[in-house]
């Protein structure tokens, strides 16, 4: 076993994601605690070209192979598991993202390592411990890991991506890649359709969540948005129900927005939602549950019924 921290590099369309830079920043802090170095593993076709943008690591392990042209849940997990087996890092960091979710579990099971998910922070100064978010952000848990090695899946925002972007040039090292027979093959990527209002351009956003209850009630929220000249955005369940188009979704699998004012109505504030709006300049939340995690990031909050609130504000704006 080494004292090193091994970071899984997530990339899409030739770009390393912010989630990866956040991991590199976290890894730097952890490496100082373990006395090891930061290694980053970049896997897939074009990996060589990405090494230069990973100066936040001390060493970049490059697994460049045309056999993995795009992210392959099975292939990338197998290659990364192999690297963890051969490098024996003390800590492995993956992002808690659509990609990292597949990698973390595989690598942990393949290497018989504990996996800690939903991590807000990790500490390796005495043993391994972490602070994690549970129950959709309603609970923070302190977690201790048995043993000296583990895989950590980090939530977005656990560190600053800019901190992980800085740094000089890492040493790049090509690694051998053996890819098992793959039962999963990549077909193609689809980008979202345009043509709808661009919620990332709005100075003010009115965002609704499951608290709106039914499709019929959307109209009332739309009237408020219109009175403000703001686009109507939403949390995931509203989109999944087909009540608003996908282009209006804020969060992990939707869009990231930073308006001057974000008005969240009936949104609980699950970590996946917060990821897309927590950097808004002013956040106002209306929710009937005083424990709703949205109040943890809001600058202003009112505990109450959104159906009482919406007409009151619409009237004042129109009046």
């Amino acid at each position: 076993m080494s004292n090193d921290i091994l970071v899984f590099v997530e990339h899409l369309n030739g770009e390393v994601t912010d989630a990866t830079y956040e991991l590199l920043a976290t890894a730097r802090t952890l490496a100082a605690q373990t006395g090891g170095s930061v290694e980053a593993a970049v896997i897939g076709a074009g990996a060589t070209g990405l090494a230069a943008s990973l100066g936040g690591a001390d060493r970049v392990l490059v697994a460049d192979t045309d056999a993995l042209g795009a992210f392959n849940p099975q292939g990338h997990a197998a290659v990364f598991s192999g690297l963890v087996a051969s490098r024996e890092p003390a800590l492995v960091l993956v992002p808690y993202t659509s990609v990292g979710m597949e990698i973390g579990n595989q690598v942990a099971v393949a290497n018989s390592l504990p996996l800690v998910s939903y991590c807000l922070s990790v500490d390796a100064s005495t043993g391994l411990s972490a602070t994690c978010q549970l129950y959709s952000g309603k609970v923070e848990a302190d977690v201790v890991v048995d043993g000296e090695r583990a895989v950590f899946a980090m939530l977005a925002g656990a560190a600053s991506a800019d901190d992980g972007r800085s740094g000089g040039a890492a040493v790049a090292e090509d690694v051998d890649v053996t890819i098992p027979d793959l039962a999963v093959s990549f077909v193609g990527i689809a980008e979202p359709e345009g043509g709808d209002v661009d919620i990332t351009a709005g100075e003010v956003l009115v965002a609704i969540g499951r608290g709106i209850e039914s499709e019929d009630n959307i109209e009332e929220a739309q009237e408020l948005a219109d009175a403000l000249g703001a686009p109507l955005a939403a949390s995931r369940p509203i989109i999944d129900q087909g009540w608003l188009p996908k282009t209006r979704q804020v969060g992990k699998s939707g869009l990231t927005v930073k308006p001057k004012v974000y008005l969240a109505l009936g949104i609980s504030g699950a970590p996946e939602h917060l990821e897309g709006m927590r950097d808004s300049a002013t956040i106002i939340a209306v929710n009937s549950d005083p424990q709703a995690p949205i109040f943890g990031v809001a600058h202003y909050g009112w505990v109450g019924d959104l159906f009482d609130f919406i007409p009151e504000l619409t009237e004042r704006l129109d009046g």
């Binding site: 849940p73 977690v143 793959l182 990549f186 077909v187 193609g188 403000l228 869009l255 009112w302 609130f309």
Partner: protein, 252 residues
């Protein structure tokens, strides 16, 4: 197509949570079906209908609500359901995955579906842990499937609305984020029928052991509204204050 759907009861997200040491105070806690498992069930039912296959729903008997969940699954179209154990203490994701793996056994399932995540999975995601321990191909964060020729086409969601399609040779495990259609509703009468159908099998199991190597030593309820200015008063007062905030931000 022979389909297994793994379902979990999770603490009702709308309930006020209270703590008891390093765990939730579970005495009066209500449980609901994990919302993503509901989508896994729906996607499974659509595939069952399209392929003329069968579907079995599995759930750990760790909450009173589990029977109702499984009867609902049967009423919606599951052929059989298995309640694994009764009145079990809650266990970590590794123990849940191990229990599901032994229940699935060599049942010859072509497809194993579960929700992408659950709110209490501190040591990993059950669907992906099952895939890893069975050595099966996997795709997670799935938002739709289509039956292809000798394989299943699976749409995985990345972020910012970007999705990718994969062809997956079965057997495989999928972590379902969203079914291609909203989970169906079923009349209460149908659920009552399901209760009498005998399609729910109760499987006796020993209390599973946590095996993740991860221990929760403490829990906190983050101070709600910490750092936020909480507006007092009725909706009129709230709307008035919000208007002031909008004006101060220069957007009004």
């Amino acid at each position: 197509m022979k389909i297994a759907v793994l379902m979990r009861a999770v603490p009702d997200p709308v309930e006020e949570l209270e703590l008891d040491g390093a765990d939730l105070d579970r005495d009066f806690l209500g449980y609901v079906l994990n919302e993503f498992d509901d989508h896994a069930l729906e996607e499974g039912l659509l595939l069952k209908e399209e392929s003329g296959g069968t579907l079995t729903a599995f759930a750990l008997g760790s909450a009173d609500e589990v029977e109702q969940m499984l009867h609902t699954a049967i009423a919606k179209g599951a052929d059989t359901a298995q309640k694994l154990g009764d009145d079990l203490d809650p266990v970590d994701a590794h123990a849940q995955a191990a229990t599901f793996v032994s229940a699935i056994g060599d049942g010859g399932y072509d497809l194993i579906l579960s929700g992408v995540q659950a709110s209490d999975e501190i040591d990993g995601q059950v669907a992906m842990l099952v895939a890893a321990s069975l050595g099966l191909p996997h795709v997670s964060v799935v938002v739709g499937t289509t039956i292809g020729d000798g394989s299943l086409r699976v749409t995985k969601e990345y972020w910012a609305g970007i999705t990718a399609d994969y062809d997956v040779v079965l057997p495989a495990v999928l972590g379902i984020q969203t079914a291609r259609e909203a989970p169906r509703y079923v009349a209460v009468a149908r659920i009552r029928q399901a209760q009498e159908s005998g399609a729910l099998e109760e499987v006796e199991i020993d209390q599973p052991e946590n095996s993740s190597g991860v221990t929760i030593t403490g829990m906190r309820l983050p101070e709600a509204g910490e750092g936020a200015e909480m507006i007092d008063g009725d909706e009129g007062a709230a709307a008035g204050r919000v208007l002031e905030i909008l004006q101060a931000a220069g957007v009004r």
